[in-house]
Symmetry: none
Subunit: 215 residues, 4 copies
DNA sequence: AATGAATGAGTTTTCATTCAT
DNA sequence: CATGAATGAAAACTCATTCAT
């Protein structure tokens, strides 16, 4: 069911990333790990080089600046991984027959939890950078708006028409779904590093959301 | 109703903070502002001095290091503002007659939103630091646990016994309340800097929570 | 016998030093102690103020700069204590009847050891500064030359004429006497801080010098 | 005869020091020169960089702190140069046939004077630091004790048994020899920077010591 | 491409000194 | 005179970035 467990390299095989040599991949991996753990600003290029097992010069041979390294992580995340995940997600949703809102909720809660869990590091970096660079949030929001919201709204309206979902503004409904999911993910996943039993959490989540959102 | 709109200086007039000279207060204020806006790491002590209108030496005369400046902001927040707010909040709750769960929800959602809004900067800094220093979250959680949770649980059980609140684990109920509140606060307040119409948001919030949580 | 146990304040009662207030004396004493212990450069005016129990401003009210504080210690030492000690010493020598060279040696070895021991701190500071400011040594040498050497040379010649002292250049003889005394003082006194049993050391010293220097 | 005129680089060609690049050697050389001339505390890393003809960053690329720079100078001196010199010196003494105590004295006085003269800068720095860090003296004393004193004592006893040397404690005899040598070296060499005519000084030195120490 | 020594601008920090109270 | 907050110049140190090898 989870079609999102895509690694960075599986995403766009013909693009920049797979052209990267072993060393460059190590650099990217080391950056991802360190940026997520201690933050972009507290990670020095020396530490990246050390963790990647390369020289400091090598860190800069592919990515000209430290900031490009950050973007090399975040851009595919915002520009490819998230949208692709979103498309896949939406497509999957549409082709999957989910006759009832509860099935729908079950599906998306579980799927999104899995997705975030499998991209924990990127999320942490994204969240941290968002704190300083609100433009990131705007970029993300716009992308998701065009990709998801219209089609998601259609779906929500489908269940509203069926009388299974409260007739609030779909944006408002989305906000609650996202909030409750993040309420589980943020403390357990982004802040600490404990594993998360997705199935159990999903059940709880859906139980609450069904009460709050069914017509 | 909101007894929490206490500024830093109103908190402990006889303690450290009011001993600070005008210039030192300016330093603290400038740091608070810059740390919140661009983050601790991207704020130089030179910029703090410039914004505070003092010399760079002055930045270090009271707070010996830049990191102490951060702690001078966060510690009263974690150690005094939050707990005092929590106590006030709980006491207020207990002395206020809130016969129905909906009154209770209305009260806490509005109060907490107001509180966060009035300490926006501190929250932003706290959230940013939390991303790198998970220990902060643990400190906070422990403090809040001892201060709030037991008494909050009692109150929730009061409404559960009255048959107005679903008989889930009070911790789980708290999580949903917090999640939904943050779902409103984070995007509008912490990430961007737009003003927030608390009354409207509170009403929406409570409406949803009542559906999800009433027995 | 030891006429040199003069404290700073006993030296020039009509001059600056006794005009000093209690606080200023404390400053001077603290400086002396810290300069001797950790060196001039590693002593901050803040530490002087703290040890003296005064404010930092007070450190500068009498002595305009930190360097003047150093000179306030060294100048009386070079300009007054040492010469006065030297005069006293020479006068004492001349008025004291020391018919034999061995008596003479005994006297000066014991007296100089006592003198250095009672001005240990000043000596330490002087030696340390000398390493960086060779001019100090020149100043000292010139002063001692005019004050002592001529008259000391006369005395040495007295014993040479009596056939009790080898007929080397008096300067050379002085050098050996000084070297051997310092050979005892430097390790035990200036470098470490152990007490020194002067009588025992004097006897050893004189025994060796008598062998090396008697005619 | 003087086997001790070893420069820093001749000491351990395969070790740390020769791994240093040209620029790093320049940094070390500049530090040595400035520390000796004006003292560690009065030498700024900027001045070191300027004298070495490198950027200030380079000063810190190899030696992480200014203090490590000091240790990079002193440690090989205490840990390698002195002990090696000591061993060489003792070995040389043992293999050289020195039938009479006067030959022995002549040899060591000349050799030690040459050694100190060829490491003047290191000695100056060492002496200066010793004034503030008495632990240095302890380190040195312990090293020399284990390396030299036992074997030197044996040699002295050899001449005592031959009836050419006074039967004092060898430690006491060493103290006089060292004192008299330093009596020549300190004023002429360490304090000022004038050259020293070793042969002449050696002759005077030995003449006095022979009188004082022969049986 | 990879290396790592070198760079230099920027940052934090120290501290002697000043000055209003 | 005494105080101690304020100053600012200078110091040590960091680190992203460059470049010769």
């Amino acid at each position: 069911m989870d079609n999102l467990e895509t690694t960075i390299n599986q995403i766009s095989p013909e693009k920049a990333i797979t052209q990267l040599s072993k060393k460059q991949q190590a650099v990217l991996k080391a950056s991802l790990s360190l940026f997520a753990k201690v933050g972009y600003d507290r990670t020095s290029t020396y530490e990246i080089a050390k963790l990647a097992g390369v020289s400091e010069g090598t860190v800069f041979s592919q990515f000209k600046t430290k900031n490009q390294l950050l973007h090399a992580i975040l851009e595919p995340f915002i520009g490819e991984i998230l949208p692709m995940a979103a498309s896949d997600f939406i497509n999957q949703l549409q082709t999957t027959s989910l006759p009832h809102f509860e099935d729908f909720l079950n599906y998306i809660v579980h799927d999104r939890m899995s997705f975030v869990m499998s991209h924990r590091s990127e999320f942490k970096i994204f969240v941290q950078e968002m704190g300083r660079n609100p433009q990131l949030l705007i970029m993300l929001t716009e992308r998701l708006n065009t990709l998801i919201n219209r089609r998601l709204s259609e779906m929500l309206r489908f269940y509203q028409d069926k009388g299974e979902l409260i007739t609030w503004d779909p944006m408002r409904i989305s906000r609650y779904i996202v909030s409750v999911i993040l309420g589980y993910l943020l403390p357990n996943t982004l802040m600490s590093d404990e594993p998360l039993v997705i199935e159990q959490q999903t059940r709880e989540c859906v139980e609450f959301l069904m009460r709050g959102l069914s017509a």
